[in-house]
């Protein structure tokens, strides 16, 4: 966390003939250094904090929420935000704050699961296609193109129609829809890295394909994938909203941010808070994922890392 400034090469009297300063750096676990640097970036740190809050909220939803998600109270319907109901109530008199808190779990679970599926499958496909090229590339990427050619929503609807609605299947559907995106991003990045001299250099000392892929190609191809992950997390939360709106995702009366946003849409002139608060929740989550993704990308680059560790010099 206290990154040392680089000593000036020429000033070191104990330098060898190559002029390398002999100051050593205490070894420190890499993940801790990464985390430390990430937290020094105020935007990324703030985003991480907010996301941590949202995740904690999703975990302890039952104990935080002022009331149950489906506690209907007809006399309290469509109440504006007040001390009693900070986010107001909906058309059935349910407390929106409670529903936002309880909906977090559903939205995040679907988001993470969907992106996790897409990331895993897409990255592997893109890595193989980009690295091996030729017929491997042709076969895998044509398949991806086919998948990509379907309108995303239509594809998701088809999958859900086969597997039936529900949040698990929603995640699977969104995940499959996103696979080609990850495959393409990964492939494009791998194509560039594959030609790097350091990859050739590692091959020249006898490194196997597996080693080249995992130690050199993937880490260097990762930045666009990381950014894509953060963007996709955002889109997955929105996609879950869209599918729920169509009645294929989360089933009412269970709360999810997307579903609440969709339901609140009809009341937008009458009671803005119905759509506003779940909308804000989505917005905040998406924004934080994006900012965190940017920060992460910078921190994972050793060149940026030294600049940051070097501080204000």
């Amino acid at each position: 966390m206290t990154g040392q400034p680089l000593p000036e090469p020429a000033a070191s009297p104990t330098a060898t003939d190559a002029g390398v300063p002999s100051t050593s750096r205490p070894p420190r676990p890499r993940w801790r250094e990464t985390l430390g640097l990430l937290l020094r970036n105020p935007t990324a740190a703030g985003s991480a904090l907010v996301l941590l809050g949202i995740v904690l909220m999703a975990i302890f939803d039952e104990s935080i929420a002022p009331s149950g998600a489906n506690q209907i109270s007809v006399e309290d319907r469509l109440q504006a935000p007040s001390w009693e109901h900070p986010f107001g109530t909906d058309d059935l008199g349910r407390d929106i704050l409670s529903r936002v808190i309880l909906g977090a779990g559903v939205s995040l679970r679907v988001g993470f699961l969907a992106v996790g599926i897409a990331l895993l499958i897409g990255t592997v496909i893109g890595l193989l296609a980009g690295y091996y090229g030729r017929w491997v590339d042709d076969v895998l990427m044509r398949f991806m193109d086919m998948l990509f050619a379907f309108p995303a929503v239509l594809l998701a609807i088809a999958i859900l129609a086969v597997r039936g609605p529900g949040s698990g299947n929603t995640a699977l559907a969104i995940g499959i829809v996103y696979v080609p995106i990850f495959a393409r991003v990964t492939r494009a990045s791998v194509l560039g890295v594959r030609e790097e001299v350091y990859v050739r250099a590692s091959r020249s000392v006898g490194a196997s394909d597996l080693r080249l892929l995992t130690r050199h190609v993937l880490p260097n191809a990762a930045p666009p994938i990381i950014v894509q992950t953060s963007i996709s997390l955002a889109f997955a939360v929105l996609a879950e909203a869209a599918l729920s709106f169509l009645g294929l995702g989360t089933q009412p009366p269970n709360p999810s941010w997307g579903l609440m946003l969709a339901e609140g849409r009809g009341y937008i002139d009458l009671a803005w808070w119905l759509a506003f608060f779940p909308g804000m929740a989505i917005f905040l989550t998406v924004l934080c994922f994006n900012l965190l993704g940017d920060g992460l990308r910078d921190v994972l680059d050793p060149r940026q890392r030294t600049l940051m560790a070097g501080g204000g010099r």
Partner: protein
Amino acid sequence: MSAPTPVLEVEDLRVRLRTPRGPADVVNGLSYSVGPGETVAVVGESGSGKSVSVLALLGLLPRGVATVTGRALLQGEDLLTMPPERLRQVRGPGAGMVFQDPMTSLNPVLTIGRQLVEGLRAHSDMDKAAARRRAAELLGEVGLPDPDGALDRYPHELSGGMRQRVIIAIALSNSPALLIADEATTALDVTVQAQIIDLVEKLQADHGTGVIWITHDLGVVAGIADRVLVMYGGRCVEDGTVDDVLEHPAHPYTRGLLGALPDLAQPAVDGVVPDLATVPGTPPAPTDLPPGCVFWPRCPVRGDARCETEQPPLVQIGPSSGALPHRAATWCTETSALGTESSGEAR
């Protein structure tokens, strides 16, 4: 050689760049002049400030990042105080430029002819047909086979050497008084380099152009330069005629540079090729120049505290063979004190 009215006169040129690591003094008080038909070689390693010093002359450094001070008179007009429009006018007919990479200096989507004609017409009232004829003439002059055909070619259809000829043709299209070549032959093969150097020398003799030749290659310098200026850490550490500087180098850095060069002319001693002399360490960062002699941290013959704390001025040292004084910025003025360079690595 040094004619009464120089084409370019640079006085106390200083360039300071704003960097994230603080202000960087990239060029620190450079003074020289280029006479008509004269070739001045500016020699130095990467980071010595040699390229920045000419970019600064032509106002090609990003505004707001670079602060340029001093005087640079191109045929009596100060380039550094000139309004931008005037500077643009001067860049063609006043001073032509040739850079290292001929591919990036040409627009890949325009034909060679179009790029030449545009340059010609921007600085004269030639009509299109006349400009095209002149363009073909110029390409013939720089030794391009089939100049008329070449006008309709795109840059990627030519070899590296041919592209560099085109760049030279463009640079010379307005018969500038000054030609600046920044590592112009570095990316080329030696046989092509020889062709280009021959070409520049011939054109220079024909038009009386003054040339600033920036390079790290002392061999090229020996072949082309009348006068040499050795740069290190943004300062001129030695200058003089090419014979004085290369045959009797005075500054320890110049000596180190020459000693580090594998020499085809005098290799084996009793069948054994001796190790090359090396300059240990790396050049100083321009954000953190040593207070005394810039070469002090790496100098093999560094002396007393004066070397470390006091900046040596650029002064005449000993006799010189030509009309120019042989000057060096070092406290080791007695050449005997320098001794022979340590050979090999001190390990």
